[in-house]
Symmetry: D2
Subunit: 410 residues, 4 copies
C-alpha cells in the first residue's frame, strides 16, 4: 500500500505539465475561437488547425508521444497505473490528447491492432496511426436498437469466399469527420448461432471502400466536435479482403473486452483532469467576483461545494488508479467491478463539478467565453458512451452478489 | 382549499390543447430542422420562419392571444392562477409561446408598459407588441459584475436636459437578434446617492438609436436560440427623449419587482410543461426499446425514476399555482418566499427530468433528433436567468428567519 | 383553484392552536421525561400518565374530539381536506393526537367500523373508541414474510361452524401494549383460491381471547413508544364469534383500501407538523448558538438548508392537500397515485429536516433533551409502515405508465 | 503507487479475521441480547459481561493486542496504513475493538500518553491501559456552547501553587460509565490571553477526585451504549497535582492535533467495516426474502443501490488509506485536508448504506433483531463527534482555496 507515483511517472508528469503550460495552454483560446466558426460548416470542409500539427511535432520531438502504449519501443513502456496521471494532465485541455497522439478512439484502436492485429494489419494501419499520420474510427453503437445490450446488435460481418461483407448502420462513430480518418474498426454479428459472447467479429474497413456512406454528423448538445465529429455511417454490402478481419470470426467480444479496461481508465483520468480544470475555474471566478460585499466564494454554501468536489475528485482518482493497478496486476477479468465502477463514478463527478462551476460563473458559464459547457457535454456524453451508467451499475451489483451466490459471504 | 380550475380556465385549456395538437405539434420537427442550419449563420441574417407568422394569425383568430395579460380588453382578463395552466401547455413546445404572443421577454415588457407606461409609451410600444408586430428586449444583466447583486450594476441612466443618456454594457439580452426587435427596456443607475432600492431607472431605448451596438450573440450550450438570440449590447452615450423614461428616475426597482412575480410564474409553468414533455419522451422511449429481454422502462431503477419525477412535477406545479394564487390574492410583496421558491424548485426539477430522459434515450438523447438537449439548456439557463438559485434560496431563508427575529415563532 | 382554507377549518385551526399552546406544550417536557424512565420497564406495567386523561377531558369539552371522522354527529363532519390542517397542528407534538382522540391506529379502526361495521360491532367497539374509553390495534404485518407483497400473508381467518378461527403471527402491532387496548382488527387469508384481492378478511379479535399471545414489544431505534408499544402477537387457533367478521369473508382488501386513503393523509399531515416543529427547533438553535463570531444559522450552507426545507415542506403540504381533495371529490380509487406519492414524499422530507436539525444541535440533537431523535424515528418508521417507499413508488410509476399503455399519451 | 497490503499486514488481517469468525461472531448475539436489558438500568450498576474479559485474554494471548500503537514493543509496530485494514475488520462488530484493546477513546488517550506523557504518567496510566486493566475518558465537548468552535470552550485549567484546578462542565464523555474507567483527560483554557491555539491545556483527572461529578448518562437515539456510556460530567474546583498536566500549560491544542490524525483514520476504518457489515446484511436479506415472485434484491432499484454502496465504500476506503499514508509519510500537518475529508465522507457513506439496509429489512430493520439501528446511531453520532461535518468541510475548502491565495494555482 503505497500512494506515491514512481520516479519514471513523476518525471513524465513534470515534463508533460511543462509542455502543457508552455505550448498547449497558450494555444487553447485561439483554437476554440476559430473552431466555433468552423464547427457548423459542412463537415466535408472541416480542417485540422495548423497549430495541432505544429504541436504534435514538438510533442513527438520531446518523447511525449504514444505514452499510452505499454510497449517500450513503440510507446513509452508505461503500465496503466503509470500512464494514468499523464492522461489526467492531458485531460485538462480538450485539444491536448491528440497532440500527444493519445486520443480516443485511436488509442483503443492502436491497442486492438497491437494486441490482436496480424503483421500486415500492423504494417498497414498501426504504423501510420502510431506516427500520427492517419486517424481511425470505432463503429459499435447502432441507432435502431438499445446498444446497452450488445446482443441487440444488428450489423453483420459475413464471410463470402475470400471476402468479408459488412452490412449495417452505426452511429456515434467518433472521429469519422476528421480529414485524416482512413479506416474504421467495425463490430458486427458473424455467428448468430454461437454462444452469446462468440457471435461477434471485428473487421477493418477503409472509409473509402465502396458502400461506406457517412450519412451525417451528430451534434452532442449542439456541438459537432469538429474536426473529429460523431458520424452516422451506413455500411451497404461493403466488401473487404478477409485479411482485414481482426483475429477470427466470433472473436469480437473477447477483443472488445481487452480493449475496454485500459481505455476506460484513460477516459476516466482525462475526465478527472477536466474536473480539476472546472474546479479551478470555479474557484478563480469565485474569488474574483464580488456580491453583497464579499467574494462569491464566501457566500452561502459555496465553500461546502468546493469541499464536496475536492473530496469527490480525490476519491474518484484513487478509485481509478486502483482499477488501473488491478488491471496491471491481475488482468481485466479480475477488475470488472472497478472498471465499471469508475465508468459510473467519474463522469458523474465531472458533471456535478461542471454544473456548479457554471452556476458560479453566472451567464458567462453558459457561453463560449469559458470551456464549461464543452466540459459538461463531455461529462454527459461519457455517461452514455461505452455503456450507460445503468449497465455499469448492474455489472458492479452482479459482481457483488456473486460472492453470496457461491455461498462465500463478503 | 379547492384544487380544480374554474370553467373559464378549463375551456381555454381545452382549446389551447387542441390548437397545440392540430397546428403546433405538426410544425415542430420541420421548424427545428430548418432552424439548426440557420442557427449558426451570421445573426444579422436570421429570419422568422413563415410557419410562425401563419400560426400567429391562426392563434389570434381563435382568441388564443395575449392570454397572459390580466386586462380583459387587451388580453384575456385572466388572473395569474387562471393563466398558469395555459402557460404550462405552451411550455410543451419551444415555439408555442411566441405563436400565442405569450413569450418572454415580451410578456414582461408588455406588463411593465401596461402598468407603468405613459399613454404615449403605450401607443408607441405596447400597441404594436400586443399586436405581435414588433418584439422587444430587456437589458439588465451585465458582463463585468456579478449581477446577482443588483447594487453591482454599472450601467447609468442620466438626465441631461430634455434627454436621457444611457451608458453601459449589457448581455444575455434575449430576443435582440430577432429581425422584428425594435426596442429595449434598459435598467441602469440614476441616483447613486439614493437608498439602495431607489437608485435605478428603466428607460425605453430604440435599437436603432445611435450608440446602441449589438456586439455579438451569446450561445448557451452552443445554441444561439435563433432568431431570438441572447446578445451582448453596448450603450455608448445613447440619447433618448425624456419621454422614454418609464415612471420616474429611481423607480426602476419598484417596477422590476412588480414585473417579476407573474413573470416567474409564467417561466415556471412553461418549464413544467417542458418537464411533462421530457417525461413523456422518456416513458415512450422506455416502452419502445428493448434490452435484456425487456422494455427499458422495466429495467433497474427506471420505474423509480419515473415515480420520482411524477411526484416532483406534481409538487412543483402545486407550489407554482400556490405562488400564483398568493400573487393574485395578496400581491407580490406577500408572496416573495414562494416566488423565489418556485424559481429554484422548478428549473431544477426540469433539469433532473431531462437528464434522466437523455439517459434513457442513449446517444439519441444527445442529438437533435429529440429536443432533449434544448430542454436541458432551457433548464440550465433558467437556474441563472432572473437571479441564480443561490439568490432565491437566500430570499426564502431570509423570509423564514424573519418570523423568528420578530420573536413571533413559526 | 383556491388555496385558502374555509371558515370552518380556520376556526378549528385557531382553536386547536390555542389549545396546543395553552395545554399541550406545557405538558410535553414533563411527559417525555417521565416516560423515558417508564419506557424500558416490563410493558405489562406500562401506565397512561394522568395528564393525558386530564387533557382528553379538556379537549372533549372544547369539542376538539374525533375531528378526523367525517360524520357530523359522531365526529366534526369535516372532509379530508378540512381535517388535514388540523392533523398537521396535532403532529407538532407526539402526545397531541391521542389527546384529541385522533391517533393511529384507532382512527383507521374507527373508520373501518364506521363504514363497514355491523350495528352490533359499532355498539360494542366503535362507541367506546369514539368515547376514548378503550384503544385498539391493527394486525397486518408479519415477521416471516416480506409484507410489502400482501399475497405473502400467512395468517389465516377461517370459518368453522359459527366461529371464526384466526391462526398466525403478526408484528409491529402498534398500541398493543396500551393498558386500555381491548381488541385488534386482524387481517388474514380466508379464500386462498379466490382472486388476488378477494382472498383476505378482517376480523375483530378481543385481546383477551384465548390463544392471543403478546410475545414481546419491538423497539424502533431503541424506543418502545410506551405506553402504546409495537407488539409481536401470535394468534394460536383463536376462536371468535362469526359476528366479529367485518363485512364478508374475502372483503379484507376492499376494506383496507378504503381505510388507507384518508389514513395516509392523516399520517402525512401529522408528519408535516413534525417537520415544521423540527425546522423551528433548527432555526431557534441556529440563532442562539454562536461559532466563529456568528450565529450558527449564518454559517456555510445553513441558510440554504433552511430554504430547501421550507420549499420541500410547502410542496409536500400542497401535495398532501391535493391528494386529500382528490379523495374527497373523486374517491380513493382515483387518487391512488397521489395517495402513494405523499406516502413517499412526506416521510422523506421529515427525515431530511430532522437529520439537519440534529446536525445543527450538535451532540444535544442526539440526546433526549430535544425531541429530534424521536421525530427521526417517526420519519424512519413511516418510510416502512403501511407499505415501504418502494411499493409506493411502484404504484406511482404504474399509474403513470398506464396512460401510455392505453395509447392515450400524457 | 501500489495498492496491495504488505505481508505483515496481510498476516494480521488473516489472523484477525479468523479470530473474529471463531470467537467474536458467535458471542455477538447473546452479548447484545443481554445488554439490552442492562442498558436502561441505573448506570452505576452497569457491568462488563464476562465474555468480553474472556475474549480479551484470548486476543492478548494471540498477540492481537494494542495493534493500533506504532511502538513495536508496546504495540505491534504498525504504521497507520498498516493498522487501518485491521481497524476495518474490528469495525464489523460493535464489541470487537475493546476485545483487542483498540477501542476509542482509550486508543487516543494511550497515544497522547505515549507521545506526550511524562515517565510517571506513563507508569501510572499508560501501563494499565495497555494491559487492558483500566479504561479512560476524554473530556472535550461542552453542553453550553457550540463546541465546533474550540475558542468557545469554557472549562478552565488553572495552576494554583503545586496544583492544577479544573473547573467546568463536559458532556459526551464516552466511556465514563464503565466500571473500570479510572481517569479522564480533560481539556480546558489556561491562558486566555495567549494566541488562539496556545490557550488550552490537557490534564489527567482521576474520576474519584473530589469535585468530579458524573451528572447523567446521555442516550444517543435512545441507546446508552452500556457499559461505556456517554456522560455529562461537572468538574467543581477539582484539584490534581501539577504532575498530572500533560506537557505544558497551553500545549493542549498541539497535543490534540497530534492525537486526531491517526484517531480519525481508526474511526473511519471501523466505520467502513460497519458499512461492509450493513451491506452484507442488506444483500443477504434481499436474497432471502421474496416479493412479487422474486427475491427483493432483484426488485426496482435495489441492485443500483447495492452498486452505489459498493462504489462509495471502495472509494471511501481508498481515501482513508490515502490519508493514513500521508500521515505516515508526511505527518498530520500535511494531511489536514484528507483527515477532515475522510471524517465527512465515511460516516455519511455508512449512514446511507445502513439507511438502505434498514429499508430492505422492512420492520425488522428498526428492531433489535438486527444491529442496523445501532450502526445507524454510530454513523449519525460520528457525523458530530470530533467535529461536525460542517467544520471538516470548511477545513477541506480552506486548504483548497489556500493554493489560490498564494497565487500558485492548482
Amino acid at each position: 500500500m503505497h500512494f506515491e507515483h514512481n520516479d519514471k511517472t513523476r518525471a513524465y508528469m513534470e515534463q508533460l505539465t511543462a509542455f502543457m503550460a508552455e505550448h498547449v495552454a497558450p494555444a487553447e483560446h485561439g483554437y476554440h475561437h476559430r473552431n466555433q466558426q468552423h464547427e457548423h460548416a459542412d463537415w466535408r470542409r472541416w480542417e485540422v488547425q495548423p497549430v495541432i500539427n505544429e504541436l504534435k511535432i514538438k510533442a513527438r520531438e520531446q518523447g511525449l508521444w504514444n505514452l499510452f502504449l505499454p510497449d517500450a519501443e513503440l510507446g513509452a513502456g508505461l503500465t496503466t497505473v503509470e500512464y494514468a496521471p499523464l492522461a489526467e494532465i492531458m485531460g485538462r485541455s480538450l485539444i491536448a490528447p491528440e497532440i500527444f497522439n493519445c486520443n480516443a478512439p485511436d488509442t483503443g484502436n492502436m491497442e486492438v491492432l497491437y494486441h490482436f492485429g496480424s503483421d500486415q494489419q500492423k504494417q498497414n494501419w498501426l504504423v501510420p496511426l502510431l506516427a500520427g499520420d492517419i486517424r481511425s474510427v470505432f463503429c459499435m453503437t447502432e441507432p435502431d436498437v438499445a446498444s446497452s445490450d450488445a446482443t441487440n446488435m444488428q450489423a453483420t460481418i459475413k464471410e463470402e469466399g475470400d471476402e468479408i461483407v459488412v452490412q449495417g448502420r452505426k452511429w456515434w462513430s467518433t472521429g469519422v469527420g476528421h480529414p485524416d480518418a482512413k479506416f474504421a474498426i467495425v463490430m458486427g454479428v458473424s455467428l448468430p448461432e454461437a454462444k452469446k459472447h462468440a457471435q461477434h467479429s471485428m473487421v477493418i474497413v477503409p472509409l473509402d471502400a465502396p458502400g461506406v456512406e457517412i450519412e451525417r454528423m451528430l451534434p452532442a448538445f449542439g456541438s459537432y466536435d469538429a474536426p473529429y465529429g460523431h458520424g452516422e455511417v451506413s455500411f451497404n454490402q461493403v466488401r473487404v479482403p478477409k485479411a482485414n478481419l481482426i483475429g477470427e470470426l466470433g472473436a469480437g467480444f473477447a477483443i472488445a473486452q481487452g480493449r475496454l479496461g485500459p481505455g476506460r481508465v484513460h477516459h476516466c483520468m482525462r475526465a478527472l483532469g477536466a474536473a480539476e480544470k472546472a474546479l479551478e475555474l470555479m474557484i478563480r471566478r469565485g474569488m474574483q467576483r464580488q456580491a453583497f460585499g464579499q467574494p462569491l466564494i464566501k457566500l452561502g454554501g459555496n465553500q461546502e461545494r468546493i469541499a464536496e468536489h475536492r473530496m469527490a475528485i480525490d476519491q474518484a482518482r484513487l478509485y481509478t488508479l486502483y482499477a488501473a493497478d488491478k488491471i496491471d496486476r491481475l488482468g481485466v477479468k479480475h477488475a470488472m467491478s472497478e472498471i465499471s465502477g469508475i465508468k459510473v463514478v467519474v463522469p458523474n463527478v465531472l458533471q456535478r463539478v461542471v454544473d456548479d462551476a457554471i452556476q458560479l460563473h453566472g451567464g458567462a458559464g453558459l457561453s463560449q467565453d469559458v470551456p464549461l459547457t464543452a466540459l459538461f457535454t463531455l461529462a454527459r456524453a461519457l455517461r452514455l458512451a461505452d455503456g450507460p451508467d445503468e449497465v455499469h451499475r448492474a455489472m458492479v451489483a452482479r459482481t457483488e452478489l456473486r460472492h453470496y451466490m457461491k455461498g462465500e459471504g463478503a
